[in-house]
């Protein structure tokens, strides 16, 4: 029997995997974007789970908005990355270093 905690555990695990990937295997900016996308989708899964089990639609509608915004975000992020690639000829994370943090 799959219950609410299972879904929530999955959502948290996906979120953790995304966050882990962001800080662990950082060699390529595209991979970082994928990790971020995973984190967003994990949050969406949590929303849908809570909404479905509470019988409330608001959370599911929220996910529609998040998906749309995430698409816009990905479009802009890739455009900026393309701009960066044109200037630097690389999208390796190590090439993000002319500005030191």
């Amino acid at each position: 029997m799959v219950t609410q905690p299972h879904f929530l555990f999955l959502a948290s695990a996906l979120f953790a995997v995304g966050a882990f990937g962001l800080f662990w295997r950082r060699h390529n900016v595209i991979v970082l974007l994928m990790c971020l996308e995973l984190m967003l989708l994990a949050a969406n899964l949590a929303f849908v789970t809570f909404a479905a089990y509470a019988g409330d639609l608001a959370g599911q509608v929220f996910v529609m908005f998040t998906l749309t915004v995430a698409a816009a975000e990905a479009a802009i992020a890739l455009a900026i990355l393309l701009l960066f690639f044109r200037g630097r000829g690389s999208i390796a994370v190590e090439s993000l270093s002319s500005l030191r943090g």
């Binding site: 971020l36 984190m39 967003l40 969406n44 789970t49 809570f50 909404a51 975000e73 802009i76 630097r88």
Partner: protein, 478 residues
């Protein structure tokens, strides 16, 4: 419906004007750069007039309680519009000099403005999320808009990555709070949370994720990593915008969250804010000392000052929040002038941003140097300038709440941070003059600098006035 539309008239005006200007830009192409910039300024003036006309109207919630329009929202929106105006006005000269005047710039700035105005009015997680993303997406574009500059694109990549991380954290926090309370609107969440004796893991984790996301937006340590790189890499006109407007919007949204739905969790969020505030004040004071680049220095200055602003949130209550709001507005006022000076820094047609480039500016440009010196002293908290008064107010509300230790610690960090502000003054007045900076006529720059310096000095005449305005503005939240 018509009352709902009337309530969001300022946002609607701005959005419609942005679209009209976009159409103009599409038809006329690059030739539209100047008219679009003028149109943008007119749109902001129009919005300011609309805000002024509705400032006294009673508070109302519209769109199924998603959006609230009250004195707090209107006051912050007026501040936002002024900040956007200053940023647009300051952007004209550098874009003309660099031959990169494009109509897209003012349009995207206006769209970011729509998002920021939405943030301070949001009373629902969905409204907050959409508004926040709207301003963030527009700002990502602006940060990377530096003409053929790899640094600008790198700043853009960093901003977009860390900004998306902040959104993801916030979204996860919202999901957890939604699961725990079963609601997305602030009023219901507050009612539910008030009925909970000991908040469970879901609520606690939700709160922590939400606050982490907000801390990114106001660049509080340890979520500040993007700030110095983005400030330094973005074109200076965009850094100006970043330093002014988004901070007002994020602080407004944070105030609505903390003193709205999350008020019952004050015992949980106060310690988190204390950590953020202490870390910001300490790190900014220490790291700011070694900065040689003025834009980077201003990034650390922002981080530190957000720490001081959070002290007002920590003190809590109407007085604490009024102090925080007052602090924020004084800070934004001074920063506008500082960036007006940074934008004047060009030598032989090249942009320079190192502090040493200001050496002996007092000889060649006495007025510019005097203005910069006054603003730096105000940021350092030297009496009797506005910066001193703002810090005094924040520390006073803390002490009134019996938080002596935190106030004393804040005071100590201001002393350390004063070093780098006063160092700039020393460079301006006592160092061997460098080659004089280029002279370019820029009425807008002079106007912004004059308003900023006069504001910072004139507050001396009526120190209570600004604080009274802040008290009136925060009243609807309590």
């Amino acid at each position: 419906m018509s009352t709902a539309l009337a309530a969001i008239a300022p946002e609607l005006t701005l959005a419609v004007m942005a679209l009209v200007l976009l159409l103009l830009a599409a038809v006329r192409g690059q030739a539209a750069a100047r008219p679009v910039l003028r149109g943008g300024a007119v749109a902001l003036a129009l919005v300011f007039a609309v805000l002024g006309a509705t400032a006294g109207a009673p508070a109302q919630s519209v769109f199924g309680d998603m959006v609230v329009v009250d004195v707090f929202a209107t006051a912050l929106k007026m501040a936002l519009v002024l900040a956007l105006m200053a940023a647009l006005a300051l952007s004209a000269a550098p874009m003309r000099l660099d031959n990169i005047a494009r109509p897209e710039y003012p349009i995207v700035t206006l769209l970011a403005g729509v998002g920021m105005m939405g943030m301070v009015s949001a009373q629902h997680f969905l409204a907050l999320y959409v508004a926040m993303e709207m301003q963030a997406l527009a700002l990502y574009i602006l940060v990377s808009s530096g003409a053929s500059s790899a640094r600008s694109a790198e700043a853009g990549v960093k901003y977009v990555l860390l900004g998306a991380l902040a959104s993801a954290l916030m979204l996860f926090g919202m999901a957890l709070l939604y699961g725990a309370t079963g609601a997305l609107d602030y009023v219901t969440i507050r009612t539910v949370l008030e009925g909970v004796d000991a908040p469970g893991l879901t609520v606690g984790a939700g709160l922590a994720f939400l606050l982490a996301g907000m801390a990114f937006k106001i660049s509080a340590t340890p979520f500040h990593m993007w700030t110095p790189d983005v400030y330094a890499g973005a074109p200076t006109r965009v850094t100006t915008l970043l330093a002014l407007a988004p901070k007002i919007a994020a602080a407004g949204a944070l105030a609505r969250l903390l003193f709205g739905p999350l008020e019952p969790l004050a015992a949980q969020w106060v310690p988190i804010l204390v950590v953020l505030s202490v870390a910001s004040m300490s790190w900014a004071a220490l790291a700011g000392v070694v900065q040689g680049d003025l834009k980077r220095l201003m990034a650390y200055s922002t981080i530190g000052n957000m720490g001081y602003m959070l002290l007002g949130f920590i003190a809590g209550g109407a007085d604490g929040l009024a102090a925080a709001l007052f602090y924020l507005l004084v800070y934004v006022l001074s920063v506008a002038g500082v960036f007006a000076v940074i934008l004047a820094m060009r030598r032989d047609g090249r942009v320079v941003t190192e502090i040493v480039e200001l050496s002996g500016l007092a000889r060649s440009r006495p007025l510019l140097a005097a203005g910069m010196a006054a603003l730096m002293l105000s940021l350092a908290g030297v009496p009797p300038l506005a910066g001193f008064f703002a810090k005094f107010v924040v520390f006073k509300v803390l002490i009134d709440q019996g938080m002596w230790l935190l106030a004393v610690y804040g005071l100590l960090t201001t002393v350390v941070a004063a070093y780098y502000y006063i160092k700039v003054v020393k460079v301006l007045y006592f160092d061997i003059p460098a080659e004089p900076l280029d002279r370019a006529p820029a009425r807008a720059r002079a106007a912004v600098l004059a308003v900023s310096v006069l504001g910072v000095v004139a507050l001396l005449l009526a120190p209570g006035l600004g604080l009274d305005v802040a008290r009136v503005a925060v009243a609807p939240l309590f």
